[in-house]
C-alpha cells in the first residue's frame, strides 16, 4: 500500500524527521511527564508550551482494536481495499494511539491485543511514516 506523500510542517517535523532516521519519537511535556500524540502546541495538562520536547519510544505496542476498511475516501488507497486499520497502543503509555494498516496481517485476521513492532514505510514522496507489524 502506497500512502499519500507527506509534507511535514513545523509542529510535526521532528516526528517525521525521526521516522526518516528509523526512530519513533513522541512529543512529551517534561514538566508533566505526559506524552502527546498527535503533537500539540501546548500541554493539555499544564497548558504550557515551555516544556515540550521529543522523546524516543521503544517502538513496541499492542493492538487496541481494529476495523476493516471497504470504502475509503483516499484515492491512492482504493486499489488495496479491503484493508485493516488498527489502533496501536504504545507500550510506554497505552493512552497514546497510532494508526496502522498492519502490513503482513490479512484483512480481518487481526489478533486484538497482540504485540506489535514499529517499522518505517516510505510514502509516495519518500517521506517515511511509522507502520506496525504483529510480532511472532
Amino acid at each position: 500500500m502506497v500512502k499519500q506523500g507527506v509534507v511535514p510542517d513545523d509542529l510535526n517535523r521532528p516526528f517525521f524527521e525521526a521516522a526518516n532516521d528509523g526512530r519513533l519519537v513522541v512529543q512529551i511535556c517534561t514538566a508533566c511527564d505526559r506524552l502527546h500524540f498527535p503533537p500539540r502546541v501546548a500541554c493539555d495538562r499544564c497548558g504550557s508550551s515551555d516544556f515540550l520536547e521529543w522523546k524516543q519510544m521503544s517502538g513496541k505496542g499492542k493492538i487496541y482494536n481494529y476495523g476493516v476498511v471497504y470504502d475509503c475516501p483516499v484515492a491512492t488507497l482504493k486499489e488495496d481495499l479491503p484493508f485493516n486499520l488498527a489502533a496501536i497502543m504504545l507500550d510506554e503509555d497505552p493512552g497514546i494511539l497510532m494508526y496502522s494498516h498492519l502490513p503482513g496481517t490479512p484483512a480481518d485476521e487481526v489478533p486484538v491485543g497482540a504485540a506489535v513492532q514499529v517499522i518505517f514505510e516510505a510514502t509516495a514522496n519518500g517521506q517515511k511514516v511509522p507502520e506496525w507489524q504483529v510480532i511472532g
Binding site: K3, D9, V69, P73, V74, L97, S100
Partner: protein, 443 residues
C-alpha cells in the same frame, strides 16, 4: 446587524452547575419542516435557503404568532452535509438572484447567514437578536433556550438547514491529492491511513463488542425499529421517498463501509430544513400549540487523548453528560418517559443511552436491551423518532419527535406504552454534543 457565534458561556458543559436557572421558563411552541430531497436539483425553490424560509414560516404559523412578534433568530450558518461548492464550478447566479442576495453568492445555496434570512423574509420586521450556533440543531436549540431564558429574545426562531450536492463527500480535495500536510497525516479524523467518516465509531464499537462479548448482528432489532419509526415520520426522507421497511436480513447483508459498520449504519445525507419557535413559558400560554417546556440543556466537550477517542473515553464522557442532563433538570433517569439521543452513525446510540443509564442500563447492556421490546408501543421505547437512520441526516428528528410526542401530535408514531411527559434529545457526538430535556409541565 452583525451576527456572532454563540459564546461558550451560553452552554452548560461542566458538572456541578446545579439546577438550570431557567428551568421550565422557556418553551417550544412551533415546529416547521421543509420537504426532503436526496440532493439539490439546482432550482431556486429547492435550495437550502428556500427550504429554510419554508420551515421558518411553518414554525411561525404553527405557533400562531404574527411574524412581527418574532424578535430573535438562532441558526446554524454551515449547511453542508460534507460537500462545499466546487471551486472550479460557477455559482448558479439564476438561483442566487432569485432571492435578495448578500455579498456572498453562496448564501442561501451553500451556507446561510442571518442577514440572508432577514433580507428574504420581509415579514420579520422586528428581529433584534441574531446568533449563530455551530454544527447542528442541537447546538442551536441550546443557544436559543439560553437566549430566551436570559431575556435576549422573547419569540425566538431556531433554524437548521442542510444542502447536499452531487458527488461523494470527502472523496475530492485532499483525499484525491498526491501529497498531504503532516498535520493532516496524523491528526484525528481523516488521516493518511484512509479512515472513512464512520471509522472512529466503528473502532469504538469493535472494542465495545470485544469488551462486552457482543456482535454487530445484535444491532439488527435497533435498525429495524429505527426504520419503522422513521417511516411513521411523514416529514422524513425515507417516509417521503423510499417507504421501505428494513428487515434484519437487509441490514445484515449490506456491504461494509468500515467493518463493523455497514452501509445502513451510516445515515443518508439529504436536503432538508427545520425550524422551531421558542418563547417564554408565560407567553407560551397564549399560543396555538401546547407548550413543551425545557427543563435543562447540557453539553459535552470531551477531547480525545490521542488520535481517536477510545471506548473508555466515550463511556466516561457519556456518563458525565448523563449526570449533567439530570443535575440541571432536577430529575433522574427514572423520570424519562422516552429518549431520542443521536444515532447518525447507528453505533453512537448505545453509547448515549448507556451514559444516560436509560431504563437502568449500564455500559455493555444496550445491545441486549435491543433484543427486547423497544417499540413505540412498549414500556421501553428506543429512539421514538427513528432518528437519522430512520429519517435521513438532519440531526433534528429527535428534537421534533420529543416535542410532538409531548404535545400529543406525533400521529402514527405516538407512544402508547408510556405517557410522554419528560424526554431527552441531542447529539451528535458522544465526545461533543448538546442535549435538551423536554417536559409536558414546567415543574
Amino acid at each position: 446587524m452583525t451576527t456572532q457565534m454563540a459564546p461558550e458561556s451560553m452552554y452548560r458543559s461542566t458538572e456541578g452547575l446545579g439546577i438550570w436557572e431557567h428551568r421550565g421558563k422557556v418553551a417550544s411552541v412551533g415546529i416547521g419542516h421543509s420537504p426532503t430531497a436526496r440532493r439539490w436539483d439546482g432550482k431556486p425553490e429547492t435550495s437550502v435557503g428556500a427550504l429554510s424560509i419554508l420551515a421558518l414560516r411553518k414554525a411561525i404559523a404553527d405557533a400562531g404568532v404574527n411574524p412581527e412578534e418574532v424578535d430573535g433568530l438562532v441558526l446554524v450558518p454551515v449547511t453542508t452535509t460534507g460537500a462545499y461548492w466546487p471551486a472550479d464550478q460557477p455559482v448558479p447566479m439564476d438561483a442566487v438572484n432569485a432571492f435578495n442576495p448578500t455579498d456572498d453568492p453562496l448564501d442561501g445555496i451553500g451556507q446561510l447567514s442571518a442577514e440572508w434570512i432577514i433580507k428574504n423574509m420581509p415579514e420579520l420586521t422586528n428581529v433584534k437578536f441574531t446568533m449563530y450556533a455551530p454544527g447542528c440543531m442541537s447546538a442551536a436549540i441550546v443557544v436559543a433556550a439560553q437566549a430566551v431564558g436570559d431575556g435576549l429574545a422573547s419569540n425566538c426562531l431556531v433554524l437548521k438547514g442542510w444542502h447536499n450536492l452531487e458527488g461523494r463527500y470527502n472523496h475530492g480535495g485532499i483525499s484525491a491529492s498526491d501529497e498531504v500536510p503532516g498535520s493532516f497525516a496524523i491528526n484525528p479524523g481523516r488521516t493518511l491511513w484512509g479512515a472513512p467518516g464512520c471509522f472512529g465509531t466503528a473502532l469504538q464499537f469493535a472494542q465495545y463488542c470485544t469488551k462486552y462479548g457482543k456482535n454487530h448482528d445484535m444491532m439488527a432489532p435497533f435498525m429495524q425499529n429505527s426504520r419503522r419509526n422513521g417511516l411513521l415520520f411523514p416529514e422524513g426522507y425515507w417516509a417521503q421517498h423510499r417507504p421501505e421497511q428494513l428487515t434484519p436480513e437487509d441490514y445484515l447483508s449490506s456491504r461494509w463501509i468500515a467493518k463493523p459498520a455497514n452501509l445502513f449504519d451510516n445515515d443518508i445525507p439529504i436536503m432538508v430544513a427545520a425550524a422551531y419557535l421558542f418563547t417564554t413559558a408565560d407567553r407560551a400560554q397564549d399560543m396555538a400549540q401546547k407548550p413543551v417546556y425545557i427543563l435543562n440543556h447540557a453539553s459535552s466537550r470531551g477531547t480525545a487523548r490521542s488520535i481517536t477517542p477510545t471506548l473508555e473515553e466515550v463511556e466516561a464522557e457519556t456518563a458525565a453528560t448523563g449526570r449533567k442532563i439530570y443535575e440541571g433538570a432536577g430529575i433522574t433517569a427514572e423520570d424519562l418517559s422516552f429518549e431520542n439521543m443521536y444515532d447518525g452513525f447507528a453505533q453512537f446510540h448505545q453509547f448515549h443511552i448507556e451514559g444516560l443509564r436509560y431504563r437502568g442500563m449500564q455500559p455493555g447492556d444496550a445491545l441486549d436491551f435491543y433484543q427486547t421490546d423497544i417499540s413505540i408501543e412498549g414500556p421501553n421505547p428506543i429512539l421514538a423518532s427513528g432518528g437519522n437512520i430512520g429519517g435521513g441526516r438532519s440531526r433534528f428528528w429527535m428534537h421534533t419527535d420529543c416535542m410532538q410526542q409531548i404535545q400529543g401530535r406525533a400521529g402514527a408514531r405516538a407512544l402508547t406504552g408510556v405517557k410522554p411527559e419528560i424526554a431527552v434529545s441531542g447529539g451528535p457526538m458522544p465526545m461533543g454534543g448538546n442535549f435538551t430535556v423536554w417536559s409536558a409541565t414546567p415543574d
